[in-house]
């Protein structure tokens, strides 16, 4: 099963086995990653599952939709070039080892 590595704002790493097709957001909620809030439940209405994707993986992701791009405009911590919403990243085998850094604040 592919792994996602969540890195907290304090630098603490946690590896989570994530079934293919599961979003990086929902794997975080199920596995006690507190830095992801996901207030709207994954429908691109809030920005509280914002992550910074490691550069090595960023280009492997399908591009963000217009809706996701819009939400990143309102992220609590200012967006960076590799910012994504974790609710929009679905796990694939190709993404095994995906590193996402969590912002210090989600609201």
């Amino acid at each position: 099963m592919p792994k996602v590595i969540y890195v907290s704002a304090e630098g603490e790493k946690k590896e989570v086995e994530t079934p293919v097709g599961t979003t990086v957001m929902s794997a975080a909620l199920k596995n006690g990653i507190d830095g992801i809030v996901a207030e709207c439940g994954g429908v691109c209405m809030c920005s509280t599952c914002h992550v910074f994707v490691d550069e090595k993986f960023f280009d492997k992701l399908p591009p963000a939709s217009d809706t996701e791009e819009a939400v990143l405009e309102i992220s609590a911590e200012e967006r960076q070039p590799t910012s994504r919403l974790s609710c929009q990243i679905k796990m694939t085998d190709d993404l095994d080892g995906l590193i996402v850094r969590l912002p210090a604040k989600q609201r």
Binding site: C40, C44, M45, E73, R107
Partner: protein, 411 residues
């Protein structure tokens, strides 16, 4: 005096209060009391992805059961608050158990408004608010042919879209002259009427439902005052909700159109807060007292009260926002448009992508966006910052809203 927080109600507001308290480092006991026998879950998907079979039960949970154990949140599922003893600072539960509190958070939610007509209790007449009700709806829908939806608000239209998508014959009966009339402009109502009609959903506005007729105890048709009858083997009623205020009222706390709270979300008792669907608060934006039924309101008020209890009080000033998904169309609402005296359209309804910008005395107060997510998100920034966007700028698509919003101070 006892310490700790008791939260009565384990919907979005109750769950979020508990989670935010722990996230803020609050170390005293937290008890979360919920009537339903489930781990706290999200309601919005019940009339969307869950009804379409795209989401399972587990995906609705905010957090798995072990989250509550790991964060020392005592989750009492299937329990109900019965009375509050304000002097002794404790809550009596239906089971007879008593809970002492330092702070009490009432996140009691609301219940479905019942249809007050003959036949409303027939088999096949359903309401949808809870997970159990949603599961029953999904089961019934599979076998239904003719679905009649009473109420053309968010819930009714979302369920009509679900039933239409699943190939059912669907009729929506709305008492008022247009759809979602409490919250959106006529141009938006008309767009959604056409959207539904385009998918074969029959929409009847300005009608009065007087009876549900049945055979052998099962609903068979829905009758209007003018004599029209619509065949129905499934009737779904979405005519609004009634806030759960009784626990507060019985404790002599002031209640208006919801449990009355101040700008700090406190009731008349300084140790008791009320948040979410059950509470009426002074709105920073409309300068009126409002009771809102939304995820945003529940989550933001919860986080606000959690911060207050954790030692960081402040005035509640979060911008209300809402959304609804019907067929492939997303309607996003920023702010509260009620009381507007002017509206401007950005984009073109004929393309299926447009926004309505609402003004009051020259001030931008709300924006409804249909399939224009960037307008919505930028509008939240604009309204929150009280930005001065001229109506001509709003209507002019060549005016760059993003650049304009980027110059505003960050929230």
């Amino acid at each position: 005096m006892p310490g700790g927080v008791v939260i009565v109600g384990s919907g979005q507001a109750g769950y979020q209060t508990a989670a935010s308290l722990r996230a803020a480092g609050y170390a005293e006991p937290i008890t979360l009391v919920g009537e339903e026998p489930h781990v706290p879950y999200q309601r919005p998907p019940l009339s969307k992805g869950f009804a379409l079979g795209k989401q399972d039960r587990e995906s609705l949970e905010f957090r798995p059961a072990n989250f509550y154990r790991d964060h020392s949140i005592d989750l009492l599922a299937g329990e109900k608050g019965v009375t509050i003893d304000r002097a002794a600072r404790n809550v009596l539960l239906a089971s007879g158990r008593q809970l002492s509190y330092g702070s009490l958070v009432l996140a009691l939610g609301a219940r479905n408004r019942l249809l007050p007509i003959p036949g409303a209790t027939l088999d096949g007449v359903l309401y949808l608010r809870s997970l159990d009700e949603a599961a029953a709806f999904n089961e019934r829908l599979q076998h239904a042919q003719n679905v009649v939806v009473v109420g053309g608000g968010f819930i009714g239209l979302e369920l009509a879209a679900v039933a239409g998508t699943l190939g059912k014959s669907v009729t929506v009966l709305e008492a008022l002259p247009r759809l979602m009339s409490r919250v959106v402009a006529p141009s938006i109502s008309e767009f959604f009427r056409e959207l539904h009609a385009g998918h074969g959903v029959k929409i009847v506005c300005g009608c009065s439902v007087v009876e549900i007729a049945g055979v052998n105890g099962k609903a068979r048709e829905v009758k209007l005052a003018d004599g029209t009858a619509y065949p129905a083997d499934l009737v779904i009623v979405g005519i609004g909700v009634v806030p759960n205020v009784e626990l507060a009222r019985n404790a002599a706390l002031p209640v208006a159109n919801g449990i009355a709270v101040d700008e700090f979300l406190r009731t008349a008792d300084e140790n008791i807060y009320a948040i979410g669907d059950c509470a009426e608060h002074p709105c920073h934006f409309t300068r009126a007292r409002v009771r809102l039924e939304s995820v945003q309101n529940a989550a933001d008020e919860a986080q606000h009260v959690a911060a207050t209890i954790a030692g960081h009080p402040g005035r509640y000033e979060a911008l209300p926002w809402f959304w609804t998904d019907q067929f492939d169309t997303k309607l996003q609402i920023a702010g509260i448009s009620q009381g507007h005296d002017h509206a401007e359209i950005r984009g073109n309804a004929a393309t299926g992508k447009f926004s309505v910008f609402y003004y009051r005395e020259g001030r931008l107060i709300a924006v409804d966006s249909v399939n224009r997510p960037m307008d919505h998100m930028l509008s939240r920034k604009l309204i929150s910052a009280s930005a001065t966007l001229a109506p001509e700028q709003a209507a002019d698509e060549s005016f760059d809203l993003r650049q304009f919003a980027a110059k505003l101070p960050r929230h």
